[in-house]
């Protein structure tokens, strides 16, 4: 019977999860304002991220741009069968970027970028209906990327460089749907790993068939974050050999998937630019999130994710209205990597329609203020996560989700 009980308490225990679709496309205010296009837009040192090969075509000797976005994302959940409902109260996400480019010669440019392409910050009401899957999560990954670019001629260039990543995750969920201590407080676990580092690379090319038309392609490699020295902290565990949970170390791996972008831009009527980017994110590497508790008495946690590769279609437009103002607008359609039945509440991502706008204010010759705004619209969706198990029995967590995100951003560009 003891064995049965341990299982009962606990085989269910394991749905530690990261965000679904935890890519955060906010790598520059100028680009974001144009639907986050940019692989073929020669604008500023945002190219360090979007297409390092393009840096050699910048007019400036030196270009540095930095900025930040405030991510106000909201998730509402309800289950009409029981009336259960919840709203996230997530802290504002603050992805940032800093890019610098230096044209050493006419045919060679150096770049340095620091940016945050992956991350998630979601906070549900504690002990909400899906608390056995997630109470809160905070995932951060900072990319540091030096690049070098070579101009073959006025039509063709190449660029690339290594990427150093440092990441952290803090995640809390209840152990299962029912376990409490004697006073009725829900048993929960916090997984924490900081300073997880890894390496990757980026390579890109730009091709200019005419001086109005630009075509670009960028590939950013998959980076596997292997947390070797994380901590698991258990709280509100009953004092019983049947619930052998105690604080221990963890090991876990999580992929930051590879991404391929191709796109083009076209300048027309003197002051207009249109751009189109296509992203393919190779999410299929994210099959399962497995957490290995160092304490062997605590069964490892295996959580099916089974993501599929997903595409994003981006459109953007730029208008140099006056000497002082450049106006931008854009739209993109973001396909969810989440398959049916794998819809977990850490980041309930269904397909989204995204609308962007923004402007640059030129303050003299050297300084620009960049502002942007993004509204992400998700349709209301009935969905479920079917891979949470209790005693070997799958217990789907289903309901209706409605998500949105509002992202204002502000940045500065300095050029010489």
């Amino acid at each position: 019977m003891k064995k049965v009980l341990v299982l009962a308490v606990f085989a269910l225990a394991s749905a530690v999860t990261y965000a679904g679709g935890y890519r955060v496309s906010l790598q520059g205010n100028k680009s974001l304002a144009m639907g986050h296009t940019g692989v073929a837009v020669i604008n500023s040192s945002e190219l360090v991220f979007f297409n390092p090969a393009g840096l050699v075509y910048l007019d400036d000797k030196f270009n540095v741009t930095a900025g930040m976005h405030g991510v106000f994302s909201n998730i509402a959940y309800q289950d009409t069968e029981t009336g259960a409902n919840a709203q996230t109260d997530s802290p504002m996400g603050t992805p940032f970027y800093l890019y610098a480019s230096y044209k050493a010669t006419d045919w060679m440019a150096f770049g340095l970028g620091v940016y945050t392409p992956y991350g998630s910050s979601v906070e549900y009401e504690k002990d909400w209906a899906g608390s056995h899957l997630v109470n809160n999560i905070d995932l951060k990954a900072i990319y540091i990327q030096p690049t070098v670019s070579f101009k073959i001629n006025d039509k063709l260039s190449f660029g690339g460089g290594p990427i150093y990543v440092t990441g952290s995750v803090n995640f809390n969920r209840n152990l299962n749907r029912t376990l409490t201590d004697l006073e009725g407080n829900r048993a929960n676990v916090t997984i924490d790993a900081t300073g997880v580092t890894s390496w990757g690379w980026v390579a890109s090319t730009m091709f200019n068939p005419t001086d109005k038309l630009h075509i670009g392609a960028t590939y950013r490699s998959e980076i596997m974050l292997d947390a070797e020295e994380g901590d698991a902290t258990f709280e509100n565990i009953p004092n019983s050999p049947l619930t052998p949970f105690e604080n221990t170390g963890i090991k876990a791996s999580m992929p930051l998937p590879a991404e391929l972008t191709v796109g083009m831009s076209y300048d027309f009527c003197e002051s207009w630019t249109v751009a189109f980017d296509f992203n393919r994110t190779f999410w299929d590497v994210y099959e399962s999130l497995d957490i290995d508790f160092v304490n062997e008495d605590i069964p490892d946690s295996k959580n099916a994710r089974n993501y599929k590769n997903a595409s994003i279609y981006r459109f953007g437009m730029q208008y140099d209205a006056t000497k002082m103002f450049t106006l931008r607008a854009g739209y993109y359609f973001d396909e969810s990597p989440v398959r049916e039945g794998y819809f977990a509440p850490e980041t309930p991502r269904n397909d989204s329609n995204n609308f962007t706008a923004g402007l640059t204010v030129n303050l003299g010759e050297h300084l620009q203020i960049d502002a942007s705004f993004l509204y992400s619209h998700f349709k209301e969706i009935d969905a479920s996560y079917n891979y949470y198990f209790e005693n070997g029995v799958a217990v789907p967590f289903s309901g209706t989700y409605k998500t949105n995100a509002f992202v204002p951003g502000l940045g500065l560009t300095y050029k010489l």
Binding site: M1, K2, V4, L5, A8, V9, L12, G70, F72, N74, I75, A76, Q78, D79, T80, E81, T82, G83, N85, Q87, A129, R177, T178, L179, T180, D181, L182, E183, G184, P238, N239, S240, P241, L242, T243, M324, F325, L359, V361, I369, A371, F373, Y375, F378, E380, E390, N391, V393, V395, P396, T400, K402, T403, N404, F406, P408
Partner: protein
Amino acid sequence: MKNILKYTFALLAIGFVSCEPEFDSPVTDDGFYSSGTANLSKYVSVGNSLTAGYADGALYITGQKNSYPNIMAQQFAFAGGGEFYQPLMSDNLGGLLLSGNQITENRFVLAVGPNGNPGPVRLAGTPTTDITNHLPSTYNNMGVPGAKSFHLVAPGYGNVAGVPTGAANPYFARFASSESATVLGDAVAQNPTFFSLWIGNNDILSYATSGGSGVDQTGNFDPSTYGSNDITDPNVFALVYSQQVDALTGNSAKGVLINIPEVTSIPYFTTVPTNAIPLDAATAGALNAQFGAYNTQILPGLAGMGVISPEEAALRMINFSAGQNFPIMTDDDLTDITAILQGPPFSLPAPLAILLGQLRQVKSDDLIVLTASSVLGTTPDPNNPQGVIGVSIPLSDQYVLAVSEQARITAASTAYNATIEALAGAKGLAYVDAKTALARVANGGIPYDGGVLTSQFVTGGAFSLDGVHPTPRGYAYTANLIIKAINETYDATIPMVHIGNYGTVTVTNN
């Protein structure tokens, strides 16, 4: 330029301030769920320990929070239900104090013993709920552990001075509105718009849990003469029950009536097997030799003398064999032959005559109560290893609910249930057949989203560690049954709960 920046940012600010995502039809909107023709704004629940949320042999806070009325009230809140207040205990230990002296035991928890096996033990600690600490408020949950049907209308049932003598109930004493208050009176005084009534279980249950040691009072219409383990006369039940329904519906309130489950549905009576005694062939043979004269001479002799019937003689035969055996027991429904055996022609010594006086073996259709598991097979006299309970010492009658006793319970509960169903029909109230529903849990179980809910003791999920009262999951199942009946009767759409979200037994080591 300044202005443009200002307007841009004002626009952005408006964007993310008004950014809460809205469902097309939110469950929190008025009218998403309907109470139909019922008005749930003031719900009062009336009943006994089941209504109070009693579990694991005690009343304690987390148990109360998972009482079926409280679970229902949370769901009622989606359909116009109001606040629901309960007379919460002071702790999760569950024992009661009377002026500092503990008068009821703490709750059970599932603890792993020194041998590595988990089992129910009483939770250690000094409880803090003193019944002399009177709660001045009124409470929606009028569930009073231990109450029988007629107690709900008995003045003084909440008088703390009557607790030591058993004239009053310690749980009701905590929140009775006055020394002379009745449970029913305090419930009706709250002007409920909706009520639930689940009473009558204890009118048979204490008889059952005591192994039928009380008296079947059928025919005695004066409950003031009843002992605590007696069966209540069905006419008395019908009288007080209809009085209660009349009072609760007086304010044109709607409500739900719940009937009385069978005792055979609960693990207290189904966990200990009737053939619990393992014997090898040699021991069985030796025992049979000892009872040889009883089987072959005394019983036929008594039958021949007409002292006992041939049927009783057959019933009293003792027979052991290699393998699992039925324990011997004392059955006070048998003819007491102690005195006769001491006289001629048997002239047995007194101890042997007393042993055989009302002796028989347990039969497969008897029920052995859960508490027998701690005495069966034990040797109460450490100096006499031969004195084994169930083998050479009869199991006391209080541990066995004999077939004859079960029949009295069935007769009474069938009569109570007829009253309940008829009143529900006559008054147009919702009616819950808990008897059938609980029998389903006991026979095969109820599938839910994490397994199957069964009556298996400890592991089945439906019953707490006292073997009688439900777990939170069992109470959630009960709440769903009642909500379903309310929805059907009153054309309502109150949402049910996922019973898998409710816990079962509490594991903890002292």
